[in-house]
């Protein structure tokens, strides 16, 4: 580059939204539908599930037969990105760990997510144990937004009346699969409730919506849905919002900084076009960050000016702090009673058919809070790796004729064993509350930049005993459920030396807390509307504002809070105009 030029766009948008996932998508949708002129910047390419989903593709249509070589969740999965992006590194404080998953595409990670759509409960917003700070808002304040999201986007489930697992407005849930009938029975015996899943998949027509199709039960939500039968921000928010004529989307736009004026107010953002590497700046009356908890924190920390010397909105020094992911641990095996099972199509929906909400309330245990359980198993589409390692289990159960297989083998007997074990798999994963701690954070690495010259994040995250003991409890519960249904466990049962199988922080892809909300500007980054204490026209709408997530997957709450923040922005604008 011989001359450096920033291409300035003269249009002043009512709002510039950074990121197009659940948070950014909802903000764009609400504001564009209210008539505001909105510009949305997405770091990755445009993605429309109707055209770009690899849904219904067979394994032989992938040269690697679905292997996860370039996509962590398989060759057909709808996440462009992963744990590592070429030329966009992140680093760690020595002795700490955090894995950061980034999807660079319109709709972000909502294209491939599990569609498990749980509300946080009253105790998640106002915890009774005093271990973490309260949110500045209550469940009752968020409930109307959850209700509207349910109606607008669609979710299946059952009304259960569980105190801290609030019910929504539900479409009919999918029926359980055979292994799930066994799981339900085994759970009951262990005192673990197993109820219908809660997923954002249209099992019925969504009243008032003509643009989205009904689920046709391919079980492939992670590939994103060509008929828009499940929730992706791309299909359900951004693309519909573009149809209003009020939302402009620029893709392949990696935002570098939030720009400010002398008063410290945001005036727009600068970005680099990742295709031509040219620099641009755009103007907006309001700037809304929905780049993901860590990416928005990074952007704020990198936006330094005379009025914001520590990064925009960071007078508290808390941007990047209180980073927390969900806990995760799992166990797998097979059900001997499902060997040689009759074949039929049980693909079902691509979200969970059943799950176990946390069942111990606030009972005193040796760890804080709790976890929910997600289950898997059955006759899934064969893919690379589906049948690997048969030598570890084909000798464990005698055949129908009473003879036993040798471990491993080859030929006709092996072929028979592959078929015998197909569809008998069963397993479960816990997803639990990890405590938000100031000591767990991301910050700017002073020594490293990415390929765009943007300083990168350095992570500093350690699990505490709370999370480790929770994983121990998960393992005990999982073994009991497996035992109750007569399952044979084939995965290793992890012990204290491996933190009871507790996944590396970040691995559950539920990270939040980095720009937390609160009433006191000294102990929080945003106010209760998601508005920066230090910069009145800067908002954050991803999982950054979470004070403390519950064991509930966070997308439904991101959507509800983003809707709430967006309507606050509209109210504030109306006040100015009136």
């Amino acid at each position: 580059m011989s001359t450096f030029q920033i291409i300035e766009e003269s249009t002043v948008y009512d709002a510039v939204v950074v990121g197009s996932g659940a948070g950014g998508g909802m903000a764009g949708y609400i504001l564009a539908n209210a008539g505001l002129k909105v510009l949305m910047l997405e770091a990755g390419p445009f993605f429309d599930p109707a055209k770009d989903a690899l849904q219904m593709r067979w394994p032989w249509e992938s040269p690697r037969r679905g292997a996860s070589t370039t996509r962590h969740f398989g060759d057909f999965d709808a996440a462009f990105g992963g744990w590592q992006l070429e030329g966009e590194p992140y680093t760690h404080e020595k002795g700490t760990e955090f894995d950061w998953f980034r999807s660079r595409m319109l709709g972000g990670r909502t294209n491939h997510w599990g569609r498990i759509s749980l509300r946080m409960g009253p105790d998640d917003f106002k915890p009774k144990d005093g271990l973490t700070d309260e949110w500045p808002i209550t469940y009752d304040e968020v409930k109307p937004f959850y209700d509207r999201i349910d109606r607008m986007i669609g979710i299946y489930g059952t009304v259960e009346g569980i105190h801290n697992e609030p019910d929504g407005i539900y479409l009919k849930p999918p029926k359980p699969r055979l292994n799930e009938l066994y799981i339900r029975k085994a759970g009951q015996k262990a005192g673990v409730p197993v109820i219908a899943g809660r997923g954002s998949v249209l099992t019925e027509a969504l009243p008032g919506n003509k643009d989205r199709g009904i689920c046709f039960y391919c079980g492939q939500c992670n590939r994103s849905c060509k008929v828009y039968g499940d929730f992706s921000s791309s299909s359900c928010l951004v693309i519909p919002a573009m149809k209003t004529g009020n939302l402009t989307v620029i893709d392949n736009a990696m935002v570098r900084e939030v720009l400010t004026n002398d008063e410290g107010l945001a005036t727009g953002v600068s970005y680099v076009n990742t295709k031509d590497m040219k620099e641009y700046s755009v103007k907006g009356k309001t700037v809304i960050l929905g780049a993901s908890a860590c990416e928005s924190a990074r952007l704020m920390l990198n936006s330094k000016s005379a009025s914001h010397p520590g990064g925009i909105g960071n007078s508290s020094g808390l941007v990047g702090k209180y980073l927390h992911d969900s806990t995760g641990a799992g166990l797998g095996g097979f059900l001997p009673q499902l060997l040689d099972r009759k074949r039929y199509n049980e693909d079902g929906v691509g979200s969970v058919h059943i799950y176990s909400p946390w069942w111990q309330g606030d009972k005193k245990l040796d760890f804080a809070r709790g976890y929910h359980i997600e289950y898997w198993g059955g006759m899934g589409m064969p893919s690379f790796g589906s049948f690997h390692g048969i030598q570890n289990y084909n000798h464990l159960v005698p055949k129908a004729d009473g003879t036993s297989s040798e471990s491993g083998g080859y030929g006709a007997a092996l072929k028979q064993d592959y078929k015998r074990f197909y569809g008998a798999s069963v397993g479960m994963d816990g997803r639990g509350t990890a405590i938000a701690r100031k000591e767990n954070y991301c910050e700017i690495d002073p020594n490293k930049v990415d390929k765009f010259g943007i300083p990168v994040l350095k992570f500093n995250y350690k699990w505490s005993n709370e999370e480790v003991l929770q994983a121990k409890h998960m393992m005990e519960t999982f073994q009991e459920i497996m035992h109750n249904m007569g399952a044979i466990i084939t995965s290793a049962i992890p012990g204290a030396d491996t933190k009871y199988g507790l996944e590396t922080p970040g691995k559950i892809i539920h990270e939040g807390g980095t720009t937390r909300m609160g009433n006191d500007p000294k102990t929080s980054v945003l106010n209760k509307w998601g508005q920066a204490h230090d910069c009145k026209n800067l908002y954050v709408v991803d999982a950054g504002p979470f004070v403390q997530q519950g064991d509930k997957n966070l997308t439904w709450t991101i959507l509800a809070l983003s809707m709430r923040t967006s309507e606050y922005i509209l109210q504030e604008k109306n006040k100015l105009n009136s």
Binding site: P63, P176, F216, Y217, G229, N345, D347, Q391, G408
Partner: protein
């Protein structure tokens, strides 16, 4: 949009996806073996770098002719033809293995080294490389390494290699149209899931499809 509209939209959109709306798992009216499916076409939704990477890998050659011939013999020992389904080589498993070791290079060394181990072992026992041995000799070598629990410690590397070979053969086989038919997977087609069929939940002792 009702379900019929959904399916219509899907059918139109996914017209390029073979047999997507076929209702019969045994339906193979195209008559094409999956071994000949052209994965060179760039599907919508495949990223440019993925497409370029795949194309480059497909142009590279890793295994030599002798190695490929050995892989073919082993693949058909692992998954032979029977009355209902073809053998591994008939559905192109060796070509898949050639591709996948380039795609997932951690397989390269264990496969190349394992094939060499096999030839050396065959040479020691029968004075021939593996594929030049008689059928009976080959099977006697395979019997030494195919059963991890009873294999002798001195052939443990051979056991590891055979485990890898078995895995890759199964992955290559059961992801073809023929392999999926043989396995009996009947999903990946539009429909309505109404729960476990009645004959099934009854056999399993449940009171209804709700358990």
């Amino acid at each position: 949009m009702n379900r019929r509209d959904s399916l219509k939209a899907l059918g139109l959109i996914a017209a390029g996806s073979a047999a997507v709306l076929s209702t019969n798992s045994c339906d193979s009216k195209t008559g094409n073996s999956t071994a000949t499916v052209d994965t060179n076409d760039k599907l919508p939704g495949v990223q440019d770098f993925e497409y370029e990477r795949t194309k480059k890998l497909q142009e590279e050659v890793y295994f030599d002719n002798h190695e490929m011939a050995t892989i073919a013999v082993l693949a058909d020992i692992i998954i032979p033809k029977d009355d209902n389904s073809p053998s591994a080589t008939e559905v192109g498993v060796p070509d898949f293995i050639e591709f996948i070791v380039k795609d997932l290079p951690t397989y390269k060394l264990p496969m190349r080294g394992g094939l060499k181990w096999l030839d050396i072992h065959a040479q020691k026992r029968f004075k021939n490389v593996f594929i030049k041995c008689s059928d009976q000799e080959m099977i006697s070598i395979v019997d030494e390494i195919a059963y991890p629990k009873k294999a002798k410690p001195e052939v443990s590397q051979g056991v590891s290699f055979f485990n890898t070979m078995r895995d890759l053969t199964a992955s290559g086989y059961y992801t073809t149209k023929e392999g999926i038919t043989e396995m009996g997977y009947v999903g990946n087609r539009p429909g309505v899931w109404t729960g476990v069929p009645e004959d099934i939940w009854k056999v399993h002792g449940f009171a209804s499809n709700e358990g």
